[in-house]
């Protein structure tokens, strides 16, 4: 059980975030979950789409295609979290639906994650959801709610209805997880900025404006939502794979984090959710040695 009293007064002036990115892990999971063959998936999806007048995707349903967010989440928890360093907060992020759409996956994950953290899910914000989860974790850390936080973003490749318009879907089942600690070491979260309602044709200008705040020498990862945009000048950048629209940026960030050649440089990630036009940028300071 997690219990807290009154929250402290607003923290003014704003000090640096206590969150430090200490580890990241990304993985793909091949094949389909047995849950994709559960007849309840057809029933739920049929009920879900009825009001919207959308057809079912019979190929996906009869082919029992899709992966479970519980399976993806459990894998990254087991591979990233050290039982000796328990987690206080677990935030699961998704945009497209789980193959078992009614399951409280985050609650399940709390049961397998060292520390039995407070856990919940954030969704309905596309790729911006992970940046929101980061803001939430930062807020918990600032208000005494978490010393160690785990953010997990998941995506699976199949819808079981035919969407009303083109929808961003991954080409594989993937998870990316980021471990945050407040004590020492890792990369302090230095910057979290966003711009809303950034429409096509204005993305480059908005991105350039946000990137003006990046520290010198930063390496910028451009997320899949920026695939059609030119890289901003004046900052070295690399691109995430576009086939993983929701985990791709964070997986690429994890790769950069693991590269010892980049330890002395700030790392940044920018991505844009095309559905809402929200553009987000986060930046982490160079790696600090543990005290």
């Amino acid at each position: 059980m997690r219990v807290r009293g009154p929250l402290p007064a607003t923290t003014l002036p704003r000090t640096a975030s206590p969150l430090r990115l200490t580890a990241a892990h990304a993985l793909d999971l091949a094949g389909n979950s047995p849950l994709a063959a559960d007849p309840d998936l057809r029933t739920f999806t049929a009920d879900l789409v009825r009001r919207y007048g959308l057809p079912l995707d019979e190929d996906a349903l009869t082919g029992a295609r899709g992966q479970s967010y519980t399976a993806l989440g459990e894998l990254v928890v087991r591979q990233l979290v050290d039982p000796g360093r328990p987690v206080d907060l677990l935030v699961l992020v998704y945009a497209s639906p789980d193959v078992r759409p009614g399951q409280a996956v985050a609650t399940q994950l709390s049961g397998v994650c060292p520390g039995e953290p407070l856990s919940f899910a954030v969704c309905d914000e596309g790729v911006a959801g992970t940046f929101s989860a980061l803001a939430v974790a930062d807020a918990y850390a600032r208000t005494g709610g978490a010393r160690r936080a785990l953010l997990i973003v998941v995506e699976q490749a199949h819808l079981h209805h035919r969407p009303h318009r083109a929808a961003r879907l991954p080409d594989r089942h993937s998870a990316a997880a980021l471990l945050w600690e407040t004590e020492s070491g890792g990369r302090p979260l230095q910057l979290l900025r966003s711009a809303n309602d950034v429409r096509s044709g204005h993305v480059m200008g908005a991105l350039h404006e946000l990137c003006a705040e990046l520290p010198a020498g930063a390496l910028l990862v451009l997320g899949p939502g920026l695939v059609e945009e030119a890289a901003p000048g004046g900052v070295e950048s690399r691109r995430a794979r576009t086939g993983s629209p929701y985990t791709g940026g964070w997986a690429a960030l994890g790769e950069a984090l693991a590269d010892p050649g980049l330890a002395g440089r700030p790392l940044a990630l920018a991505d844009r959710e095309p559905e809402t036009g929200r553009l987000d940028l986060a930046c982490w300071a160079p790696q600090e040695p543990p005290e």
């Binding site: 807290r4 009154p6 009001r51 409280a104 609650t107 899910a121 969704c123 929101s132 208000t143 309602d197």
Partner: protein, 310 residues
């Protein structure tokens, strides 16, 4: 500390008797009688024409202070029971933002705490606001869902869902209603389809009272309160009998509990505690300074309670 600036409610105009709901669900006459006589249910509010966007927009529109404070709203959180509520990439929450002129706000759904999700949303909103450099920033919490599938219409032998909705403006600091404590207890071992798993349902029902009481008492202890100092209990609207039994067990006067909406509205997912808060303040059941307790549980399972000061 986190304060509820204003709470508003939208109840769909149609009140369906539970006999009609039961017939649609294929319940036996005995099952329906059980809901009416034993659980204290009578009718559920539904809107057969509107969708989730309409429902949430109506709740937010009923929140009068929102109009002149829309520019201060920095976060919008939909506290939702069901992990999926619309066919991807439909996004009712962001459609609501467009209708309300709130596209500047960061907006997301908070889920996987099921019907205890509005307490979590208050905690998340409170922390986001406490950490925000703008002391005037506000968060808007929306709650309310559509009963579009069987699992969103009934908890077997326990509750029938309705489509009541609520909206709440939250700020980092305020005179009322201030959040004094929050306790939450998650039990993933109860996750599953209760309708298909009688053994799981039985285990959940056996454990339920003890876990609800434990989380409420944890919230009381953290706030430095006791049952004697709590003016009012605002529970979720799952049914009347379970809360009456809990009151007997803890020795809390049942007349100090708001259960009016169980027969009148139905179990409106995570919106219940806000709907009951609106009822309590509308009926003048709370005086300035009164401490009260809100409590909810969600399938999956999550148990949560919060002590507030009016």
């Amino acid at each position: 500390m986190t304060a509820l600036e204003a709470v508003a409610v939208h109840l769909p105009p149609v009140a369906e008797p539970i006999e009609l709901v039961g017939a649609r669900l294929g319940l036996t006459d005995r099952q329906v009688r059980l809901f009416r006589r034993f659980h204290g249910l009578d009718q559920v509010r539904v809107d057969h024409d509107g969708d989730l966007t309409d429902l949430l927009t109506a709740a937010a529109t009923a929140l009068a202070p929102l109009r002149k404070n829309a520019h201060r709203v920095k976060y919008v959180l939909h506290a939702r029971s069901l992990p999926i509520a619309a066919p991807y990439p439909h996004n009712p929450l962001h459609e609501v933002l467009g209708r309300l002129g709130l596209t500047h706000a960061r907006a997301f759904t908070i889920t996987h705490h099921a019907c205890a999700g509005s307490l979590l949303a208050l905690d998340v909103a409170g922390r986001l606001l406490a950490a925000d450099p703008d002391p005037e920033a506000l968060a808007l919490i929306l709650a309310g869902e559509k009963t579009f599938t069987r699992d969103a219409r009934i908890v077997p032998d326990t509750a029938l869902f309705g489509e009541g909705a609520a909206a709440c403006l939250v700020r980092a600091e305020g005179e009322h209603d201030r959040v004094l404590s929050y306790a939450v207890d998650q039990h993933g071992e109860f996750d599953g389809r209760l309708a298909d798993d009688p053994e799981l349902l039985a285990r959940y029902q056996r454990s339920y009272p003890e876990l609800v009481i434990a989380v409420m008492e944890a919230a009381l202890n953290e706030a430095g309160e006791s049952w004697e100092s709590i003016r009012l209990l605002l529970p979720h609207n799952v049914n009347q009998i379970s809360w009456q039994r809990i009151c007997r067990q803890i020795g809390y006067p049942p007349e100090q509990m708001v259960l009016d909406n169980v027969p009148a509205v139905g179990h409106s997912f995570a919106a219940d505690i806000l709907i009951n808060h609106h009822t309590a303040t509308g009926r003048g059941l709370l005086r300035r300074g009164d401490r009260y307790l809100v409590a909810a549980s969600g399938l999956g399972a999550t148990f949560a309670a919060m002590v507030l000061q009016h």
